[in-house]
């Protein structure tokens, strides 16, 4: 059995993280000592590693909770998990697409600035941002 400190060290997270996961219902100690200290077994180690790995794949804690529920459900099967993974990938791809658009917008702004020695009042990047804000405001009023 591991104390919370040893568990955290083993999985390379902080004790606050372990407590937070417990609060979120993702993890529970195997038992508590008479003095009320939490004790964890190998199941907790595996669960924490699972949580960390799922976070690396972009899953939120709420989504990880769903995955863990699927994992322990008798009625669920591999294709249920696969469809969760596919939806996550779709969301990530949407985000990547949005980030590309933002990056492209920045590239265009950077290209506009052809003379870095100009005073701030003549900064074409700031001017372009202001004019696009005005356009947006006009659009909002008209729309």
């Amino acid at each position: 059995m591991l104390t919370i400190g040893k568990l955290a060290l083993r999985v390379d997270v902080t004790t606050d993280t372990v407590r937070y996961y417990e609060k979120e219902g993702l993890l529970a100690p195997a038992r508590k000592t008479d003095a009320g200290y939490r004790l964890y077994d190998d199941v907790a180690i595996r669960r924490l590693r699972f949580i960390k790995q799922a976070q690396h794949c972009g899953f939120s804690l709420a989504e990880i909770g769903e995955l863990l529920a699927l994992k322990s459900s008798d009625a669920a099967c591999c294709k249920d998990v696969k469809s969760v993974a596919i939806e996550k990938k779709l969301h990530l791809e949407h985000k990547i697409k949005a980030l590309r658009v933002m990056s492209q917008a920045l590239s265009e702004l950077i290209t506009v600035c052809d003379d870095e020695t100009r005073p701030l009042q003549e900064c074409p990047i700031l001017a372009a941002l202001e004019s696009s804000m005005e356009k947006q405001l006009k659009g909002d009023r008209n729309g």
């Binding site: 469809s83 779709l90 791809e93």
Partner: protein, 85 residues
């Protein structure tokens, strides 16, 4: 020609039966005026993202996302009906 595209992943059990029913409706209503394409979302992820598909299964009609989950037969009939007028 109305183009119906159904986005799902291979082996999606919940889709197969419902999809077959919807396909029958398309064939009945379309009579050569509607095309049906099964899109493997894993093979055409970029296209799915382009159309705004956020979950699977989903249906696009004429290149626009029409249903973010499989619709009831009536809803699909209504949607197709609007386009066949």
């Amino acid at each position: 020609m109305v183009k119906v595209e159904v986005f799902s992943s291979p082996g999606c059990g919940k889709c197969a039966q419902a999809k077959n029913m919807l396909k029958t409706i398309v064939e009945e209503m379309g009579q050569g005026r509607i095309t049906w394409r099964d899109v493997n979302i894993l093979e055409e992820m970029d296209y799915a993202v382009e159309l705004g598909v956020m979950s699977s299964p989903a249906i696009a009609i004429d290149g626009k996302l029409a249903f973010s989950s499989l619709p009831s037969p009536d809803k699909l009939r209504t949607e197709l009906g609007k386009r066949l007028v």
